[in-house]
């Protein structure tokens, strides 16, 4: 699965994107966030306030309860401040 990060999520993790193999029990966006937090301090710092992290699946906004697709691009980012 391709993961992409933006703004302070990107800065704290220290990567703009990465490709990961997900364990079989990671089925939803919330599962993904919990699994990522266990990968290191940088992920823990980026995803500390897990409830405010916004998620897009294949470039469309998704809830934390959304199921992950078989493949594609999952983006994690802070609340948006455009406009």
């Amino acid at each position: 699965m391709k993961l992409v990060y933006f703004a302070w999520v990107r800065e704290r993790i220290g990567l703009p994107d990465e490709t990961v193999d997900l364990p079989a029990d990671v089925n939803t966006v919330a599962d993904l966030l919990n699994w990522l937090k266990g990968r290191g301090e940088n992920y823990g710092a980026a995803l500390e306030r897990q409830d405010i992290i916004r998620v897009a699946i294949n470039q469309e906004h998704a809830d934390h309860s959304a199921p992950l697709p078989a493949n594609g691009e999952i983006a994690l980012f802070p609340p948006m401040t455009g406009g």
Partner: protein
């Protein structure tokens, strides 16, 4: 509802020109009675801002603005709709975002432009970082609850 016009969406580093974009929606037409434009500019709140840096999610930024624009063109009878959002480094006084909505009737043009801005603020994948004068640091702008409230005005 099916969109009433084909919106034009651009996400770009370059500046835009209000006159050119307005002319594009009115030139040679006799059916446009109202054009509302919204220009969002980089503002220096306390005299300390050197520049804003706008990060965006390429691909999704265009797609999300196109989705919001199509919804507006389905909700209001528009003869034209243009949305341009810049990214990159922007100094105080410079343009950030432009919405131009044209219609036969003034209320449709006003409401569509207002709707677009509320949704861009809270749903378009852009993030602003503030660079402070003298190079003493940079910080990400926090999202405002008020912007989410503004978006809720349009629920129905």
């Amino acid at each position: 509802m099916a969109p009433t016009c084909e919106p034009l969406v651009r996400v770009q580093a370059d500046d835009f020109d209000l006159a050119t974009e307005t002319r594009r929606l009115t030139a040679g037409r006799r059916d446009v009675g109202a054009v509302v434009s919204f220009t969002g500019l980089c503002r220096d709140e306390n005299g300390m801002l050197e520049a804003l840096e706008l990060e965006h999610y390429p691909g999704m930024a265009e797609a999300e603005i196109a989705r919001i624009s199509s919804e507006a063109a389905g909700r209001w009878p528009l003869t034209g709709l243009t949305v341009i959002h810049r990214f990159g480094k922007i100094v105080p006084g410079d343009n950030i975002v432009l919405v131009v909505a044209a219609s036969s009737h003034r209320r449709a043009a006003f409401e569509a432009a207002d709707f677009l801005m509320d949704f861009l603020k809270s749903r378009a994948p852009f993030w602003k970082k503030e660079h402070v004068r003298g190079g003493t640091g940079a910080g990400w702008v926090e999202a405002k609850d008020a912007d989410l409230d503004d978006m809720k005005r349009w629920e129905r």
